[in-house]
């Protein structure tokens, strides 16, 4: 998981949490303890990327603040869904849809980049897309020197809010959603995306860990210690490995990982479970 953190700028929760559940850890404890582990891995990776100049603090702070607001909304939404008894199903469906959509788009887009063919029209050679025209019409334009993009501040704020809601529903740091959002919607370069995403994930998981420990008592610190012992070292390796890979190669690797996790979760929805009863509150 640390390797994924340093390589792709994700916390790894979208992989680690399902893996921990498969090992028999109760889902609520898996998600909360993994948040604690992600703090260490993302701090390790974020520091390394910061030293390399790959963290856009201005962009990161904007998305972080809106992400925290979105996370609060997402937690409230989960409470409503739990009251209706369908939280687990909705969470799984959101995972499948998000992972499937993001993974597929990243995979084919990166594949075309690697093969030097384009499915979409090249920028500047034809009329801007509807999305680009909407974005360019938005107010509050800001220049982000580290990312070398000029874009309305409304975009990172809105996207941060959306990511926060999704991250709260899915119980993850939000990195695997944040990275494609930054690449495709904010047009940030890949290596700055990784560091900036880790910055946002770090603070999101600090927030989640403290809230889960104080409100739900679901953080298993001993479990988190074991996980972080391996992940912090893996994060450093991931940063160094990422430097050797082209941006498109990184994207396609991440796309493959995301699609594999999606397939696993989809199987859980389609295949008859071993027992037709389950404990409440479990994923």
């Amino acid at each position: 998981m640390g390797l994924l953190s340093g390589l792709f700028g994700v916390g790894g929760g979208f992989l680690m949490t399902p893996l921990l559940i498969m090992l028999g850890i109760p889902a609520t404890i898996a998600a909360a303890s993994d948040s604690n582990q992600i703090v260490a891995a993302s701090a390790s990776g974020c520091y390394a990327h910061f030293r390399e100049g790959n963290v856009d603090l201005k962009m990161g702070l904007l998305m972080l603040v809106s992400g925290l607001v979105g996370g609060t909304v997402g937690v409230r939404l989960i409470q409503v869904l739990r009251g209706l008894g369908e939280a687990n199903f909705v969470i799984t469906v959101v995972y499948v849809v998000m992972l499937g959509g993001i993974g597929s788009y990243m995979f084919f887009e990166s594949l075309s980049g690697l093969r030097r063919r384009t499915y979409a029209r090249a920028v500047g050679r034809s009329r801007p897309s509807i999305y680009r025209r909407i974005v360019e019409a938005l107010p509050l334009k800001m220049h982000f020197p580290r990312s070398k993009v000029t874009i309305s501040a409304v975009m990172p704020i809105l996207l941060g809010l959306l990511v926060g809601v999704l991250a709260a529903i899915m119980g993850v740091g939000g990195g695997f959603i944040m990275v494609p959002v930054m690449i495709y919607l904010l047009r940030m370069p890949m290596h700055v995306v990784v560091g900036t995403s880790l910055f946002q994930v770090l603070f999101t998981c600090v927030n989640v860990t403290v809230l889960q420990a104080s409100m739900n008592h679901t953080v298993d610190f001993l479990l988190a210690l074991l996980l972080l012992a391996g992940s912090v070292v893996g994060a450093q390796i991931g940063v160094r490995l990422g430097k050797r890979l082209h941006g498109e190669q990184l994207k396609i690797l991440m796309a493959v990982v995301v699609l594999l996790v999606m397939a696993k979760m989809l199987l859980g929805l389609l295949v008859e479970p071993a027992a037709l009863l389950d404990y409440k509150g479990e994923l």
Binding site: R51, E52, L228
Partner: protein
């Protein structure tokens, strides 16, 4: 005539009492031994094996039962919706279901005594699980499946090995506690069977308790959650940053 009737009456009463007296005075059972009787849940706890041994009267069958108190259990029922997706389709409630229930027997339970006696003596899953309604009754086998998968419910036919030595008849067996066993007190009961009638032959308790670091962490997490969470975050941050410092690259500049 009256004396003869009286003698007959005495003989009949004695005949009724004798089987019970025979069970009590002939081959008195030895103490029920469970080792270990205290299970310590520490940092490296990965479940525990409890060895059980006892002496039983000659000719008896036996059951050793390890059980916890019962609790109300609310579960989610899974069903297929639209012929495609498996999702929660409703709640299932059991008014009473033990957290842990394991049996070791010398022979299949249904051969030891009639069902009504097994029920009275709380032997068998159906005797200890109380469904709240018809839906729960229908899903009782699924509850057993769920608990058996977790190692919490076990019905081990033939799990008690019978042997004979100079002191009489002895039974031995093993209970396996899963790593997820809940701390608390568990009752261990030895029940003997003769002529399809059950007799309590011995009881003891097993205590499962958290110790050391695990106990300290548990107390902190439950009683001082904010402090515990903040400490966990600080430790994680320091660990992450220290690792970053240790691995810091000598290169400079952005990519």
């Amino acid at each position: 005539m009256r004396a003869r009737t009286a003698r007959m009456a005495v003989l009949l009463v004695a005949a009724g009492l004798l089987p019970g007296l025979a069970a009590r005075v002939a081959d008195p059972p030895g103490p029920l031994l469970v080792d270990p009787s205290r299970v310590r849940v520490g940092f490296f706890f990965n479940g525990a094996t409890l060895s059980v041994s006892a002496r039983i009267p000659d000719g008896y069958q036996a059951v050793v039962r390890l059980s916890s108190g019962a609790e109300r259990l609310e579960l989610k029922e899974k069903g297929r919706v639209g012929g495609v997706l498996w999702m929660s389709v409703g709640d299932v409630v059991f008014d009473e279901a033990p957290v842990l229930y394991q049996l070791l027997t010398t022979a299949p339970l249904d051969t030891l005594a009639p069902a009504v006696l097994l029920d009275e003596w709380k032997l068998g899953y159906a005797a200890v699980i109380v469904p709240a309604d018809g839906a729960a009754t229908r899903m009782l086998p699924e509850l057993v499946k769920l608990k058996e998968r977790g190692g919490l419910y076990v019905d081990h036919e033939g799990g008690l090995r019978v042997s004979r030595d100079g002191d009489g008849v002895r039974v031995d067996g093993r209970f396996v506690l899963p790593a997820s066993v809940r701390p608390g007190e568990y009752a261990v009961d030895l029940i003997g069977f003769s002529a399809e009638r059950p007799f309590r032959l011995g009881s003891t308790t097993v205590v499962v308790e958290r110790v050391g670091t695990v106990r300290m962490m548990w107390s902190l997490a439950m009683e001082h959650g904010l402090f515990y969470g903040s400490t966990a975050v600080v430790v994680a941050l320091v660990t992450g940053l220290l690792t970053g410092l240790l691995f810091q690259s000598k290169r400079h500049g952005a990519h």
